[in-house]
């Protein structure tokens, strides 16, 4: 009795059960080998396409989410720090994207391959595929969570660095201002000291000048007064002598006195007389 053949073997009348078993035992393993060869040859290209689409969406959502968070949390921080931190985050994201692309690409291709061949994949394989996809997803999720934490840490570090930098800059600026202020005060002190000493010198010089002037005036006044006094004393003495001598002189002695004085005065002065006079 002939067993009914499968539909795809209808028409092959020459096939008996032995031929079929032989066929199954030989051909099916060949088909499976060919399938696996085909699967691994297309794995890389398909993996990349899947990876690109998936990570682009993931990146957008992630970046948007983190931007919102950073805006709320670090709203008052400096733009410069934010740019630096944001650049760092982008670098981390680039690395994460590269890693996740590889992982997800592989998973996608596995899943796609398994799904496309469901008609030949057993339930066990489907379950394995689904588990693999879930594992990959969970793994990716953990990676992304780690990325978020790393990004936050970077943000925090950047802010702390920024704060330290600000503090250091502020300290340096304060020190510079202090130094400049001290220098300015010193210069001002020097100038004030110089000006004060100059003014003091000028004042002393003026006082000395005035003192010398007054001293000269006093000396001149004193000299004038003494001369005037001496003149009056001499006049007084001369008048007394003249009175006394005049009363004591008779004409003869008077004439003799005048003649003596005349002869002595002419000889003493060397008086010259012009004959024409």
């Amino acid at each position: 009795m002939k067993e009914k053949l499968p539909v795809y073997l209808i028409g092959l009348d020459s096939f008996n059960i032995n031929t079929f078993l032989l066929f199954v035992c030989l051909i099916v393993p060949l088909i499976l080998i060919g399938y696996w060869l085909f699967y691994f040859s297309n794995e890389d290209s398909d993996e990349e396409n899947f990876e690109n689409d998936f990570l682009k969406n993931l990146e957008k959502d992630f970046v948007k989410d983190k931007k919102d968070k950073s805006k709320k949390k670090f709203n008052d921080e400096d733009n410069e720090i934010e740019k630096s931190a944001y650049g760092e985050a982008l670098k981390i994201l680039d690395r994460a994207r590269a890693d996740s692309l590889k992982i997800l690409g592989r998973a996608q291709m596995k899943a796609q391959g398994l799904l496309d061949n469901t008609y030949v994949i057993s339930k066990e394989n489907r379950k394995r595929l689904e588990d693999s996809v879930r594992d990959i997803y969970e793994k990716q999720s953990r990676v992304l969570d780690n990325l978020s934490e790393e990004l936050l840490d970077n943000y925090r570090l950047a802010i702390e660095e920024g704060k330290k930098e600000n503090i250091r800059t502020l300290y340096e600026v304060t020190e510079a201002m202090k130094k400049e202020a001290i220098q300015g005060v010193d210069e001002l002190k020097d100038v004030v000291k110089r000006e004060t000493m100059g003014a003091q010198d000028a004042l002393e010089e003026k006082i000395m000048s005035e003192y010398a002037k007054v001293d000269t005036e006093i000396k001149e006044y004193k000299k004038s007064k003494i001369e005037s006094l001496n003149k009056k004393i001499i006049e007084l003495l001369s008048n007394v002598y003249s009175e006394v001598i005049g009363q004591d002189l008779d004409q003869v002695r008077h004439e003799k006195l005048i003649l003596d004085l005349l002869d002595r005065e002419i000889k003493k002065s060397g008086l010259k007389i012009n004959k024409e006079n």
Partner: protein
Amino acid sequence: MSTSVARDLFNNLQTKERSNDFIRLFDYIEGLTHRVGGFSIEEALKSVFGDNKPDWVYQFVKNIPSLESGNISDGDMNLLREVREMIEKSTVVKIEINFSPSLEFVSNVIKILRENYGDMNFIIDIDVLENLESGAMFYIGGNVIDLTVRNKVTSYLIAQDVINRFL
């Protein structure tokens, strides 16, 4: 010779007052139309000086006898003219003094002046100022010589630095 006589006659005049009197007398004599005969010195003196006859006239009469005799020759007139010219050319020395000095004093003044200034003719102009202090003021050829006692005492006190030394 005449010059020597004229100088003696001039030296006899000495003062400006006496010289002026001589000039007045000379002018009188020179103005006469007849100097020979008819001339009388007494009348001339009386006419010129009145009753105050100057004593120097007698010295002139002694040296020029024709004045006495009334016969004045031209030589005599020239001698008198020469005396007048000497008076006009002489140096006048003015003396301010508080008494009327003697002729001896005037002669000694002229003697001192000639000793110091050589052979010059001097006429002394005496100006008696009773209020003037002791001594005299001399004015010679535009120069002033203060010979008052007070001035001399003052000069002496200053020269001897009496105030600083004794006061």
